[in-house]
Amino acid sequence: MRIRPPVPDDLRSSAITPESLYLTRREWLAAAGLTVGAIAGAGALLPSQADAQQPLGKPFGLQPDDKATPWADVTSYNNFYEFGTGKDEPADMAKGFKPRPWTVVVDGLVKKPGSYALEDFMKAGRVEDRIYRHRCVEAWSMVIPWRGIMLGDVLRRADPAPGAKYVEFTTLYDPARMPGQRSAVLRWPYTEGLRLDEAMHPLTLLATGVYGRDLPNQNGAPLRLVVPWKYGFKGIKSIVRIRLTDRQPATAWNVSAPDEYGFFCNVNPTVDHPRWSQAKERRIGEFLRRPTLMFNGYADDVASLYAGMDLRRNY
């Protein structure tokens, strides 16, 4: 069995838990547990308090005052247009969705294409818990304890062919099971894309869980992408296909509104959305707005991917 160091070698310093935070992790976790516990006490569904107080994973790129967003918010305030365009609709409309059995196809410019049952697909990497900041393009944010494997491991197993430059992701297309797909609010199926180096970055995660449990349907069950330095809509949900290509894939929101949503969609407080400022964000659960951080606080890890690029043009 291959033994992997807990933190990949190529991860930069800020992704490693700052020592001060590490030393206070028990207090931090207790605080997170308290928040979740308070919600559970208020009658929301969640993990018992004992569950919530268990370690939720390593914090990546968190600031000292970042606290995990309560389960009740993470699982009830969702953008998942396949199950309705209202924030509270996916939690309701996805109730009957059956995310298993599930098959994921990896193909395109790879030497070892394959079609995997989800359980086998996940054997590409080591499942870990990671706490990430999550910044929606709509200027709200959360802190979410994900569970998943690194996308890089999946791609290494497929062995990219020399011409591969991009990765295209596709959501399930099944209007009978995803009622939102019956109206043409977006081009279905939802597609997303990353440059290959973004996809191979050790922060890029394929998540199957949140808060130590399987992903609830409204969060993108059974498999979703998490790219913490990009706006949330890059995190495509209910993935059925991962295809490597030599040209930039079309992405759902870019097709829908190219002047508002580009290919990169990196969190950037200095580049406004045409209709609103991105300089600040409202953390769910907080009243006062916070300043938005460059690359959502992951600049030390990912800024080099975009060296020399005009981020105003490549939004």
Binding site: S76, Y77, Y81, T85, K87, L186, D272, R275, F287
Partner: protein, 229 residues
Amino acid sequence: MAMREWGSATRARTSTWTRPRWWSWAVWTAILVPGSVVIIGLVSDLLLGTRWLGSNPVKEGELVLGQLTIKYLVATLAVTPVRRMLGWNWVQRDRRTFGLAACFYGLAHFLWYALLDIQLDLGQLGTDLTKRTYIVVGFLGLLVMLPLALTSTVAAIAKMKQRWVALHRWTYLVPALGVTHWWMSVKADIGEPVVYTSVFATLLGWRWWHARRDTSGHAATPFTRPRTP
């Protein structure tokens, strides 16, 4: 004169039903309850951690207040067609009440945005009010409503006479600005703005139809205007 007002008298239906006693209560309940629920919901969500307005109560409250503005505009514009079609002449006095409610909710929507959403970030306010078209359009809608609300008193109607009628024709611009603002503000799902645009188109189309049939009909007629003696 009454025979010439809004279509011919032969076509206008009359009703012997007088204003029910509970009607005013219903109108004021319809106006005050939604706003109170939003404010109480926000306070409860922020201070007690409830989720009456969902996980993002500031944003949700802002959207609800904007939608309420549109709904009271519908009510305002529906009064005259309802009066004409059902013969409920007594409903006419509610037009001003609904119009004031629309203005009140529009103002509340703007103040909510400025104070609670962007939290008096004057830099952002300046950018929004100059560069973001949908905010400019919405703000214009509010600016049009304010003088109409301020001149809605009986004294102003009596004093301004025909100028009042001319000024209050601006009412018809407000729903156009309102739905445009809403339409431009949504990311992809334009379902609700489309519904309200159709409703306004129907209400304004009805007026256009009647105005064409009877050129002497006045679109904006103060409810205190004397009837035939």
